[in-house]
């Protein structure tokens, strides 16, 4: 069965088709081929979300995965992250969850909240 997708490697947005043996059609350049193969074999995404913080300024602090996570694990990561409660000060880049779900990737703060 062929899977169709839009390439997002650049703004052109080629409409790609990939079959089970990973033959890619519809791409105008090599980037499209590697994008499609990666999407079929190991799709990954940066996860961005928030965690609770006890600050007088705001109730949530934004966080992200330091590296892309396997797409299939994004939903499993959310309850783990949502259990975290932080107290200020938190600095941009501080680790919020180490090695989330044994992926080897940390969840880090993306902003600084001093108080």
């Amino acid at each position: 069965m062929k899977k169709s997708m839009i390439c997002i490697a650049c703004p052109v947005g080629c409409h790609l088709e990939v079959d089970e043996s990973l033959n890619v059609t519809g791409n105008r350049c090599k980037k499209g081929e590697s994008y499609a193969v990666e999407e079929m074999t190991n799709p990954t995404r940066i996860l961005t979300t928030t965690v609770a913080i006890d600050s007088r300024l705001q109730r949530r602090i934004s966080v992200k995965s330091a590296d892309p996570l396997p797409k299939a694990k994004l939903f499993d990561c959310m309850p783990v992250i949502n259990k975290v409660r932080l107290d200020p000060p938190v600095k941009r880049g501080d680790i919020v969850v180490r090695n989330i779900l044994d992926t080897g990737t940390d969840i880090i703060a993306t902003r600084t909240i001093e108080e």
Partner: protein, 422 residues
């Protein structure tokens, strides 16, 4: 009365860059921000994809804001937070800004130049005349973004989004990750308004349907929202009979466009471009009022913050030059008009006496074009010609006029687009 060289109104991405550039050469700058912290809307845009052009790395909104704030190192820069500007006036060659905050009450300060980086506001339900009842549960996508990402409130459980603008797409993903069911995104136009990468990563990734050429034709619910009806529309924009789809949802998000926000205070008026909803400016982002500059989303709506920063650095620098030496400079303006196939183009006029800097034109095309030739002309004379591929209305395009190109000092410029066959 406190006196500054330059006052920058609005401390988001645009104001941060404008203030940074304006404060060079020991120039005293006052940066006024209505929120408790700098960074503006970047603070609630927790997703990544910012900074690829300006910082050459992929950042989230808050990270981009903090980097920009860290660059504000000039000692001549003063900042007022939690401060609202109520009046802006110009008398002779001085600007008078009246603001209010808890510590100082109401105060008027003065400056030799002013930069408006007040951002934009979201088009609301009233602006698009949504039919049906008016229950709670209907809000703009940006409000929902603030509730979730800053205040920590979930907005609903079953959600429909009207409008395929980028904020709506981003919120579709965000709400899905937080456990809500996003039943679909409806778009009036036959094509999506947001960037392709957001369509892919926010909708396709989560199997959220996109209903193109659809709009809301009914809203039901007395106290809280109960259901929303979508209808397909024909080429003339009329709902097609028997095309209704009903969705039992508790929340309807609107992502139906942004409008430059420059009328939040009284006083000064300047010439506006009805195409952009913002000021009419020259290549230094100076408005029709001498010494008043505007940039960022307060000027025209951007899809990438990187270009807000770039534009505002130019505006801040120009304000700096203005207060130090160019206040009384004689100018000669020629108009810049959008031609065939072009929705709008900025700047709307060029000062031909200023020849030191290349001019960056920002524009949007009217329709999708696989391949096209752009021509910047003065009458019959072609000043600049460039071939471009894959031009679409959601993506702001840019064209740079090098310093060496000489312009006629009387003839207006027109940017034309010609569709190439094949």
């Amino acid at each position: 009365m406190s006196t500054y060289d330059i006052i920058v109104i609005g401390g988001g991405a645009g104001g941060l860059a404008a203030a940074q550039a304006a404060a060079a050469n020991k120039t005293s700058v006052l940066l006024i921000e209505k929120d408790a912290r700098l960074g503006g809307i970047l603070n609630q845009c927790i997703h990544n994809g910012f900074g690829l052009h300006h910082y050459r790395e992929e950042l989230t909104g808050p990270e981009y804001a903090e980097k920009a704030i860290d660059e504000l190192t000039d000692k001549t820069l003063n900042i007022r937070l939690n401060t609202t500007v109520t009046k802006l006036n110009k008398e002779e060659d001085r600007f008078f800004v009246t603001y209010m905050n808890k510590e100082e009450g109401e105060r008027t300060v003065t400056a030799g130049a002013c930069v408006l980086t007040t951002g934009s506001y979201e088009r609301t339900r009233g602006a698009i005349a949504l039919p049906g009842t008016r229950p709670r549960g209907i809000m703009t996508a940006g409000s929902a973004q603030r509730y979730i990402n800053i205040d920590g409130y979930m907005v609903g459980k079953r959600i429909l989004i009207l409008g395929s603008g980028d904020i709506g797409l981003i919120m579709a993903r965000r709400l899905t990750l937080e456990g809500a069911e996003v039943v679909g995104v409806a778009e009036l136009l036959p094509h999506a308004s947001g960037l392709t990468r957001n369509i892919v990563q926010c909708l396709h990734d989560f199997d959220i349907p996109l209903y193109l050429s659809h709009t809301v034709t009914d809203i039901k619910g007395k106290e809280t929202l109960e259901s929303v009806t979508l209808s397909a529309i024909d080429a003339k924009g009329r709902p097609k009979k028997d095309s209704e789809k009903h969705f039992d949802v508790d929340t309807l998000l609107l992502s139906v466009g942004l409008i430059p926000d420059t009328k939040t205070f009284d006083g000064i008026t300047f010439k506006e471009d009805p195409r952009t909803g913002g000021a009419y400016v020259d290549q230094h982002f100076e408005t029709s009022v001498s010494g008043l500059f505007a940039s960022g989303n307060a000027l025209h709506i951007h899809d990438l913050v990187d270009f807000v920063t770039e534009e505002s650095l130019i505006a801040g620098k120009a304000a700096n030059r203005y207060v130090h030496r160019l206040k009384n400079k004689k100018k000669n303006h020629i108009r810049v008009n959008p031609g065939e196939g072009i929705d709008y183009v900025l700047p709307q006029r060029i000062d031909t006496t200023s020849k030191k800097h290349p001019v960056t034109f920002s524009f949007r095309v009217k329709e999708e074009n696989a391949q096209a030739t752009l021509r910047l002309c003065q009458g019959e004379r072609v000043i600049l010609e460039k071939k471009r591929r894959f031009l679409t209305p959601p993506e702001m395009e840019r064209l740079i006029l090098p310093v060496k190109k000489t312009l006629d000092v009387e003839t207006p410029l027109t940017l034309h687009l010609e569709v190439d066959e094949g």
